[in-house]
């Protein structure tokens, strides 16, 4: 019998870097090398205007994209309003707004 605990646990899942197609990731990295400096601190997500209103999690999406997991990323990125707060809070000085647009541009053609 299923018990409702009020929360649930994500199903165990492995990101297989060998199986994943990293070609889009490489293209993104080549166009925005500073993205490699991301330490996944989550400041972008903490200040995110869209994230404040929805379950949109920028850190999660860009981390998955970096690892070659593109499914649903385009639709998720569509939630971003490009307000630019993430860019001001990024401690690594990454052009996060440009990154959103770049990821969308690269995934559109997939």
């Amino acid at each position: 019998m299923a018990i409702n605990w009020g929360f649930n646990i994500a199903r165990p899942r492995a990101v297989d870097m060998d199986a994943n197609d990293l070609s889009i990731t490489r293209r993104i990295m080549a166009q925005m090398p500073e993205f490699q400096a991301c330490i996944a601190c989550g400041s972008c997500t903490a200040t995110c205007t869209a994230g404040n209103l929805t379950s949109f999690n920028f850190r999660r999406v860009h981390t998955l994209v970096r690892r070659g997991e593109y499914e649903g990323a385009y639709e998720e990125m569509g939630k971003c309003m490009l307000c630019g707060k993430c860019r001001l809070s990024c401690p690594r000085g990454i052009n996060t707004r440009g990154l959103v647009m770049l990821i969308k541009r690269e995934l559109e053609d997939k």
Binding site: T49, G78, I94, G98
Partner: protein, 608 residues
């Protein structure tokens, strides 16, 4: 055929191609213009606007008043070429007419020195005018411009230009042809003057000199060669003209008329844009004011290159997106091209992807609270500068204002950043959402402390019955009406004009008056229309962090050079950006007002 010689053929062919291409282009652009624009033309054509346009054509297309304002020598150079050449054509026409050749072929007027001599028209003062003298004087006027143009190539600083345009090969061909037209004309007319003795003070004396140098035989055989050369250079220039930067010579004229009839560019590309794009002379006046060039070293993104790339269909996103849209170049453009709007609608063409389902999540979202006729929209950036928010809270409470807080606990973006990114259709979703919120809460005044939001509220939102105010205007009103009182302190402040508020919003005085009410105002060297951009504009989607910081440091240094105790600005984004480069405190306007409120605890009073 009377009045003909084979050397006029290159000229005639060139002129024919030129007028055919130019008229073909204008006809196509005009036909493709939206019906509403054509109606504006129809309404304006028989009005005062036509006369005003004629006046502007004379002052701008011929005399180049706006270039004189940039630099007098540069203005003289352009005016001597444009106005001088125009006078050569016009006076040449009058001269031919004086001999009764009013309706003869075009080349008779243009090459009148040759035709007058070879067809035995007596050289004398006609109508009491010594045309040979007048034409020589005009030629000298034009030649002085050509000499200056040569000098400018070597030392542009002489004309106040730190950098000039890097031209395309096509432009270089046209440019070289243009430079050779008038020296070629001088030599041709001088040789004819030497043989037929019909020259003025310039061609006459040069002709005599050449005759002495070359001897009569060589002079006679060199004469047709010189005229062929002159005609051929004209031909090269005419053929190159409609495809090169020199398309601006004619295109500025229809542009001035269409602009006077009220036609403007908008966030979507339209056929009118062609007139703007091809009216660019690539003079490069837009390069020097560009901070991306002077501070960040981006050399290929300035308006001149953007327009060139767009015109020849080779615009890339990296060029279109790398612009702060600060408007400093637009402010100086001698043709008055609406550079920011063109950049914007290029982005729309490159990026806009209409998607009705995008931002579905906005439905029903309303994190606002409070109630009042005055709505305060902090804007995303103000939420990142909480001191501004706190200062506004204190001011509202001191003034006893009942406030509806639109987004203090987080809200929906105003839509301008998306619009600036070219996603204009998606931006509409945000505008609709926020408009519905403003209506639902029945506000009559909308105050925002973010100039980016202010601009979009004023220009893209449809908010009849709601007064839209920047907080600087609102604060000034509170002070004027005596609803808040402030102590005048001893500190001195310098003020940084945010681009979206000043150049793009025309709000210069209110923040200054507010500053003067609490302290001394010291203006930086570059101020108001010429104010520098902080470098962090949301309009630039490509600039990297290092370069943003470089610009911020330069701007902060410029502001600190005033010696003021603190820097004040009226935009949360400028505040964040300038703070990065400044060693002095940087305040939002609201902070210094809140800090100087009478009967209030001076908790965060700016200390000098």
């Amino acid at each position: 055929m009377r009045y003909f010689d084979s050397f006029v053929v290159p000229f005639a062919v060139g002129a024919l191609i030129l007028f055919a291409v130019v008229l073909w282009k204008y006809a196509n652009w005009f036909i493709a213009m939206p019906r509403a624009d054509k109606k504006r033309v129809a309404r304006g054509i028989f009005s005062r606007r036509t006369a005003e346009a004629v006046g502007e054509v004379i002052s701008e297309s011929l005399l180049h008043r706006r270039i004189f304002r940039v630099n007098p020598l540069l203005g003289y150079m352009h005016a001597s070429l444009a106005f001088g050449w125009f006078l050569l054509i016009a006076v040449g026409w009058i001269e031919a007419a004086a001999y009764g050749l009013t309706f003869s072929p075009l080349w008779v007027h243009v090459f009148f020195r040759w035709f007058g001599a070879h067809y035995g028209l007596e050289h004398a003062a006609v109508w009491g005018i010594d045309f040979a003298f007048v034409m020589d004087l005009l030629l000298l006027f034009v030649l002085s411009g050509v000499a200056l143009a040569w000098a400018k190539r070597m030392r542009s600083k002489m004309m106040g230009m730190r950098k000039t345009t890097r031209h395309t090969p096509g432009d270089r061909i046209a440019l070289s042809a243009l430079w050779f037209i008038f020296p070629a004309r001088l030599v041709a007319e001088s040789l004819t003057a030497a043989i037929y003795d019909n020259g003025g003070f310039l061609t006459g004396s040069l002709g005599n000199g050449l005759l002495r140098l070359l001897g009569p035989e060589v002079t006679v055989s060199a004469e047709p060669v010189a005229w062929w050369l002159y005609s051929s250079v004209l031909c090269i220039f005419f053929v190159a003209m409609p495809f090169s930067r020199y398309m601006h010579i004619f295109t500025e004229i229809p542009l001035i008329f269409l602009r006077r009839y009220g036609i403007t560019s908008s966030e979507k590309e339209s056929s009118f844009d062609h007139f703007q794009v091809e009216a660019c002379s690539r003079c490069g006046i837009c390069i020097d004011p560009c901070q991306l060039q002077s501070q960040a070293g981006y050399d290929r993104v300035q308006s001149v290159y953007f327009l060139r790339d767009r015109r020849y269909g080779m615009l890339t996103e990296s060029v279109a997106e790398n612009c702060l849209m600060c408007g400093r170049c637009q402010n100086l453009c001698p043709v008055g091209i609406d550079l920011n709007t063109l950049r914007l609608n290029s982005r729309d063409t490159l990026r806009n992807t209409p998607n009705e389902r995008r931002y579905e999540y906005l439905r029903g979202i309303d994190p606002s609270h409070g109630a009042g006729k005055v709505g305060y929209f902090a804007g995303c950036m103000t939420l990142l500068t909480p001191r501004t928010l706190q200062a506004m809270e204190r001011i509202f409470s001191a003034a006893g204002e009942a406030v509806w807080w639109a987004d203090r606990e987080g809200g929906v973006c105003c839509g301008r950043p998306l619009k600036l990114a070219g996603e204009t259709d998606s931006a509409r979703r945000m505008m609709e959402h926020n408009t519905a919120l403003f209506r639902k809460h029945g506000i009559t005044t909308l105050v925002t402390s973010c100039p980016i939001c202010l601009k979009v509220f004023k220009e893209d939102y449809d908010l009849p019955g709601i007064e839209i105010l920047h907080h600087s205007e609102y604060l000034r009103r509170l002070l004027d009406e005596g609803r808040i009182g402030v102590e005048h302190g001893a500190e001195s402040f310098t003020y940084h004009d945010p681009c979206e508020l000043g150049r793009k919003g025309g709000i210069y005085e209110p923040p200054r008056e507010v500053i003067r009410s609490v302290g001394e105002l010291v203006e930086p060297a570059q101020t108001r229309e010429n104010a520098l951009c902080c470098g962090s504009s949301v309009a630039n989607l490509a600039i990297d962090d290092r370069n943003q910081e470089k610009i911020a440091v330069a701007v902060a240094g410029h502001l600190e050079a005033t010696g003021a105790d603190a820097i004040v600005t009226a935009c949360p984004l400028c505040k964040k950006a300038v703070s990065r480069g400044s060693t002095r405190p940087v305040y939002d306007l609201s902070e210094i007002v809140a800090g100087h409120l009478k009967e209030s605890a001076p908790a965060d009073t700016p200390q000098a």
